[in-house]
């Protein structure tokens, strides 16, 4: 069972990390925000799985903290998106 949890955690991390390719690729900041959000959710899932497998105590509170912080960062970034016009990278680097 422990091995299954660890394998599942590894797969989830690998999956959501693949989504991180969007941070570099874009094309716009909206995609970057989305890939961060899926990493946040996957990170919580992986954290819980690892904690249950390796018996680290008190990780449920860490996961609670992460669940609170994911929208915290998202609000800040979404705020940033409304503050300035959504620029695609091309305009940004051309300037």
């Amino acid at each position: 069972m422990t091995e299954f949890f660890l394998a599942a955690a590894g797969l989830i991390v690998a999956t959501v990390a693949a989504g991180l390719a969007m941070i570099l690729r874009g094309p716009t900041d909206i995609e970057r925000l989305m890939s961060l959000q899926v990493l946040g959710t996957g990170g919580i899932a992986a954290l819980l799985l690892i904690a249950f497998a390796t018996q680290v105590p008190g990780v449920d509170d860490v996961a609670l903290g992460l669940a609170l912080l994911a929208p915290f960062a998202a609000i800040a970034f979404a705020n940033m998106l409304r503050a300035e016009d959504l620029v695609s990278d091309d305009r940004d680097t051309a300037s």
Binding site: T15, A18, I30, M34, Q37, I44, A45, L48, A74, A78
Partner: protein
């Protein structure tokens, strides 16, 4: 009884894994921002939810089980509302 619980646990976590995979694949492959948002919601809601339900079978105390549910609810609420924020932003850009 424990074997049954184990089987349900493994089934739930595998299901969660599937939704993380599907969500990230959609995020990377779907053509426009709103469809990507739709894919992202699958990973947020079902992926983490199934993992949390699966882990509840292994929770030692009721408190830990309640925290797992709370984590899921937090991600559910914040995920849907940040999706709303992002979608509103996407619509504005399109106009």
């Amino acid at each position: 009884m424990t074997t049954l619980a184990n089987i349900v646990c493994i089934a739930c976590i595998s299901g969660g894994l599937f939704f993380f995979l599907a969500g990230t694949a959609g995020l990377l492959r779907f053509p426009d921002a709103l469809s990507r948002l739709h894919a992202l919601a699958k990973a947020d809601n079902l992926g983490l939810g199934l993992v949390a339900i699966g882990l509840m079978f292994r929770a030692n105390t009721l408190l830990v089980a309640m925290k797992l549910i709370l984590i899921w609810l937090l991600v559910l609420v914040s995920g849907s509302l940040t999706a709303q924020l992002i979608a509103a932003r996407v619509r504005r850009v399109r106009k």
